[in-house]
C-alpha cells in the first residue's frame, strides 16, 4: 500500500500531489529545499547531485509521514532505480584526472561514483539497517519497480519500503519519483 509520494524535477516538487514552492532551478533548487525544509545535516553539501536528490526526496517523504524517529530499525528497506547510474559523479571525478599535468584525483568525488551510495546516505541518516539496493534499468517502468518492491516484501523482516526512481544525468537534469510503501497484512 502506497502511503506517501514525492516527485522532484528541476522545475517542480510535489509532495502527495501538492506542489511545494521554490524559486531556484536545477540543482540549486535542491539546496533551497534543503535550507527551507531540512537544514540540520551539513553532510548534504558534500553529496553528489544524485545523493542530494535522493536525500531531499526521502526527507520530504518522511516529513510527510510525520513522527520522525531516528531510532535504529531493520523493518524498512530502501530500494531505488534509475537509468544513468552515477553518471554525474563519474563525470565530476573524471574531471579531476583528465589532465595529466593537473592530475589530482578527488577522494570526495570518487566516493560517490556508485549509484547505491544514495541508498546508504538515506539509511545512515535514518539508522535503517534493513535491505538497501539500487538497480539500473533502461527507463522508468512502474511495473518493474512495483514488482521488485512487492518481491522485497517476501522477506519476513521488511514491513515498509522507501522506493522508486532517482535519476540524474547532470546538475540540471534529474528526476525523483519516490514513495513510501507499507506491507499489506
Amino acid at each position: 500500500m502506497m502511503k506517501h509520494s514525492v516527485i522532484i524535477t528541476p522545475e517542480h516538487v510535489l509532495v502527495d500531489g501538492n506542489p511545494l514552492m521554490h524559486n531556484e532551478k536545477g540543482s540549486a533548487s535542491l539546496t533551497e529545499l534543503y535550507r527551507n525544509h531540512i537544514g540540520d545535516y551539513p553532510k548534504f553539501f558534500k553529496m553528489d547531485t544524485l545523493s542530494k536528490l535522493g536525500f531531499i526526496a526521502s526527507e520530504l517523504l518522511l516529513n510527510a509521514e510525520g513522527n520522525r524517529s531516528f531510532e535504529p530499525r531493520e523493518d524498512r528497506a530502501v530500494i531505488l532505480f534509475n537509468r544513468h547510474a552515477s553518471l554525474q559523479a563519474d563525470t565530476a571525478y573524471q574531471a579531476t584526472i583528465q589532465d595529466p599535468d593537473n592530475f589530482f584525483p578527488s577522494p570526495a568525488a570518487f566516493v560517490y561514483t556508485l549509484p547505491n551510495i544514495v541508498t546508504g546516505e538515506i539509511a545512515i541518516r535514518n539508522k535503517y539497517f534493513g535491505e538497501t539496493s539500487f538497480m539500473v534499468i533502461d527507463d522508468f517502468d512502474e511495473k518493474i519497480i512495483i514488482k521488485n518492491l512487492e518481491n522485497a516484501f517476501q522477506d519476513p523482516i521488511t514491513k515498509s519500503i522507501i522506493g522508486g526512481w532517482v535519476d540524474c544525468s547532470d546538475e540540471e537534469h534529474f528526476e525523483a519519483k519516490m514513495f513510501l510503501m507499507e506491507k499489506e497484512i
Binding site: P42, P107, A108
Partner: protein, 85 residues
C-alpha cells in the same frame, strides 16, 4: 603566517564544501577532526590532495596526517616549512 592561515582556511572551506562557513568561523587552534570541525576520513584524504595541488607537498606517509592536520595553525606551520610552490 597570518595570511597563509587565512588562505588555508579559505582553501579548506572550498575543498571540503563547508557551506555556510567563513574563514572567521574557523579557530586556527581548534582540532580539525572529532570535536572541532567534525571532519571525517574522506576529508583527511581531500586535505592531502589539496596540500599537493596548492603547495606541492606530497605526504610520503599518510599517517603523518594525524599530526599535521591537528589544527589549521599546525597545518600552516608544516606548509610554510615544506612548500615547493
Amino acid at each position: 603566517m597570518d595570511e597563509l592561515i587565512y588562505t588555508l582556511k579559505q582553501q579548506i572551506i572550498e575543498a571540503l564544501n563547508l557551506e555556510d562557513m567563513k574563514p572567521e568561523d574557523i579557530d586556527e587552534n581548534a582540532t580539525l577532526f572529532g570535536e572541532g570541525l567534525g571532519l571525517d576520513s574522506i576529508d583527511a584524504l581531500e586535505l592531502i590532495v589539496m596540500m599537493e595541488k596548492n603547495y606541492g607537498i606530497k605526504l610520503q606517509d599518510p599517517t603523518q596526517g594525524k599530526e599535521i592536520f591537528k589544527s589549521v595553525a599546525v597545518m600552516a606551520d608544516f606548509i610554510a616549512k615544506n612548500r615547493t610552490k
